[in-house]
């Protein structure tokens, strides 16, 4: 029998098959890495010196068994707040991280900085922290944050700074900071300026503007730790809207998504995008089930490819120009005082929902409508996402005033 050498034909066929698999394989991320085989990745949380796992846990939606597994996998940063589940989330975290586990895990909680729409006093914030400690069944937290600040004034507030000092002096909080969902750049820069903050937790995902990235880099240089949250929010929100539209009109063709709806790959890519930024110490994605925990955890062992990044950037760019993200940073940028966020919202109600009455009510509730826009030949109002404001505002005025 003739010895069977590999012919060129066979070689080409095999090589072609391998190339085909490579070309058509899912682009978003590398092959599945089981959570158990993922190497932990740590970064230092600014001047706190704490070494935290880059993928950490936002406990708000995580049931206790998931929190417990997260700890066993090696995640060492657990984020909760006074207000989550009426205080029960702090109790859940406290139960899971009781005993010896407490020494190896870091807990972050958040306290309200306003009461009845007024700035809270230092004593009120301290009461919030003490209530949290009781529910967490611990005598200290590694980090306490004032929850959801959105202005320089709130960051610089004397009562907050006084609370921070007392929290640290009493040993009830090792480090202090703030969380922010709106006017993030302003908040971060104020925290840097203040010098009293150790950490800022901020919305940070692939839709953010360059100034926020620059602020985070500056904060890191100044020694602040930056924790990223809502890293996957644009994806999750899009999927929720997609599912809601399908449920509302089951017979209509499903609205097209820019990415495949099946699988979890885009959410993983979004998380990895945030963690690829060296300014970010860790992210705290919410994980409602074991599957999400395993997939998010495994992001530590994955690589964001060039095409993945380009896809995310392209999606962010295309949607940013058509879609207001509600960041609120346009507020106050009009010299005539037009209430841009409120007018924008009223336009959205009209255009996206066809709700004329609601849109009109919302427009009329705005403290300053868009009447002045008719006088301005050149709009100087700022949108950090390059949304063209003047057409939206003048159109809203013409239809809703």
């Amino acid at each position: 029998m003739q010895k069977r050498d590999v012919s060129r034909r066979e070689f080409l066929k095999v090589g072609a098959a391998v190339a085909a698999v490579g070309a058509l394989a899912p682009r978003v991320l590398a092959a599945e890495t089981p959570a158990a085989k993922t190497a932990l990745e740590f970064r230092t949380l600014g001047r706190t010196g704490l070494k935290v796992t880059t993928v950490s846990l936002g406990c708000m939606v995580a049931p206790e068994p998931v929190i417990a597994k997260a700890y066993d996998l090696g995640i060492n940063w657990f984020d909760t707040a006074n207000s989550y589940k009426g205080g029960r989330n702090e109790e859940e975290v406290g139960r899971v991280l009781a005993g010896d586990k407490r020494k190896k895990a870091c807990i972050c909680t958040k306290v309200r900085h306003t009461v009845n729409r007024q700035p809270a006093t230092a004593d009120q914030m301290m009461a919030g922290l003490e209530g949290g400690l009781k529910r967490l069944n611990t005598d200290y937290v590694d980090l306490v944050l004032t929850h959801a600040t959105s202005s320089r004034e709130q960051v610089m507030n004397d009562a907050a700074l006084d609370f921070f000092r007392k929290a640290k002096e009493s040993g009830k909080a090792r480090f202090v900071g703030t969380s922010t969902h709106q006017n993030m750049t302003q908040v971060i820069l104020a925290a840097v300026e203040s010098g009293a903050y150790d950490v800022v937790m901020t919305t940070y995902n692939y839709t953010i503007a360059a100034d926020l990235r620059a602020a985070a880099a500056k904060a890191k240089e100044a020694g602040l730790g930056i924790i990223a949250m809502k890293t996957q929010a644009p994806v999750v929100e899009l999927m929720k809207k997609h599912d809601a539209a399908k449920a509302a009109n089951p017979d209509a063709p499903a609205p097209r998504l820019p990415f495949p709806h099946e699988g979890y790959a885009l959410q993983e890519a979004a998380l990895k995008w945030a963690l690829d930024d060296p300014a970010i110490a860790c992210a705290v994605p919410g994980m409602r089930d074991f599957g999400q925990l395993d997939q998010n955890f495994a992001v530590m062992g994955k690589r964001l490819g060039y095409l993945d990044r380009r896809l995310l950037e392209r999606y962010a760019a295309a949607t940013a120009r058509a879609y207001c993200s509600g960041c609120g940073r346009c507020a106050g940028t009009c010299p005539d005082g037009v209430s841009i966020p409120d007018v924008r919202r009223s336009a959205m109600y009209l255009d996206a929902y066809g709700e004329t009455k609601i849109a009109r009510d919302t427009y009329r509730a705005a403290s300053v409508g868009a009447a002045p826009c008719a006088r301005c030949e050149h709009c100087v109002a700022q949108c950090v996402n390059d949304v063209a404001l003047r057409p939206i505002l003048t159109d809203a005025h013409s239809r809703l005033a």
Binding site: R8, K241, A245, F290, T319
Partner: protein
């Protein structure tokens, strides 16, 4: 030397070029696929509140949807999404006499009664006292919250004065805005009461116990003869889907624990096993309905409880208990409180 046929070479080149073209097309599609924004949900689901409440007048209305709920409740928004949030109306009432007082009423349309119940229960703190308003309510200080129909409603008086009485009165009055001919959650009536913990009835719309295959689940928590466990049930919609859930549960146990009994054919298909984080679990399907027990080591007892639960579920009326606000005299135990329908 082996002869290379021209045909082989040509075929190989064609295959390579084709593959390169496919790869380029895939890459181009990914880079240039026009992103399209799905619709954002519907504002048709917002509530239109009356102009007066508890002697106060309506001053301002705001609306929030899937897109911007986080602007109002920050990091809690995802929890509301888990419970099927549709839209929020925020109505602010003020004193007509110029008194410095704001009563803010948040009317969350959660889309369905069980979702409204679920999010209402989820936010209840230990110190919140029960209140008679809506289908069920709790209150603490200047805050009250109830659920009724598909709505979860929270009222807060934004003042340092003690306005607890006003807030409670407003809650009762606001509950009357919402029609709900069904009253209490009949799905909870199937759970046995022996050993049921106070406040032990909950609903999870998504991923109950962290398990992605268990959705729209009614749960009851027990402490019976020092054994803590949970019973639960859900309707998968179709018998085949119930079997799919059993198979998913089997995979979950196999991945991180042990499957000790597997019976997917014949009557009463079930899965029994153990897993480190969820403990022992038994899941049994009858038709489209799943019932289960989590946390009980005694397998025989778990099966008995689950089969009893199935039997009770079968006795629940499918039709609404009543179609008018009043009528019927059935006594139900709800959330540890004995109530009698009027």
């Amino acid at each position: 030397m082996r002869r290379v046929h021209r045909g082989d070479t040509a075929a190989g080149v064609v295959i390579l070029l084709a593959l390169l073209a496919i790869a380029a097309w895939v890459g181009w599609r990914g880079l240039h696929a026009p992103p399209r924004q799905g619709p954002e949900g519907s504002l048709k689901d917002v509530f239109d509140p009356p102009g007066e409440l508890a002697g106060l007048r309506l001053k301002r209305l705001r609306y929030f949807t899937l897109s911007d709920l986080h602007e109002y409740i920050n990091g809690q928004a995802p929890r509301y999404f888990q419970f099927g949030f549709k839209a929020l109306t925020v109505a602010e009432y003020v004193s007509p006499k110029g008194r410095d007082l704001s009563l803010v009423v948040d009317l969350y349309n959660m889309g369905a009664r069980h979702n409204a119940y679920g999010i209402w229960k989820d936010g209840r703190g230990e110190d919140d006292a029960s209140l008679q308003a809506g289908n069920a309510a709790y209150a603490a200080g200047n805050m009250a919250a109830f659920w009724k129909g598909g709505y979860f409603v929270r009222l807060r008086a934004l003042t340092d004065d003690d306005l607890a009485q006003l807030v409670r009165k407003a809650a009762v009055e606001a509950a009357a805005w919402i029609e709900d001919g069904l009253g209490q959650m009949e799905e909870f009536a199937a759970f046995p009461r022996d050993g049921l913990l106070d406040g032990g009835l909950t609903y999870e719309n998504e991923a109950a116990f962290g398990l992605p295959h268990l959705n729209a689940v009614f749960v009851a928590e027990y402490d019976l003869k020092n054994a803590r466990f949970r019973l639960f049930h859900a309707d998968a919609g179709a018998p085949e889907k119930a079997l799919d859930v059993l198979r998913a549960h089997e995979r979950f146990l196999a991945a991180g624990g042990t499957v000790e009994e597997r019976r997917l054919e014949g009557p009463d298909p079930l899965i029994w096993g153990r897993e480190k984080y969820t403990g022992p679990s038994l899941l049994l399907a009858r038709g489209s309905v799943l019932a289960g027990c989590l946390g009980l080591n005694d397998r025989a007892q778990a099966e008995t409880l689950v089969k009893d639960l199935h039997a009770r579920l079968k006795t629940l009326p499918k039709a609404p208990l009543r179609t008018a606000p009043h009528g019927g005299d059935r006594t139900m135990t709800y959330d540890g409180q004995q109530t009698t329908d009027d």
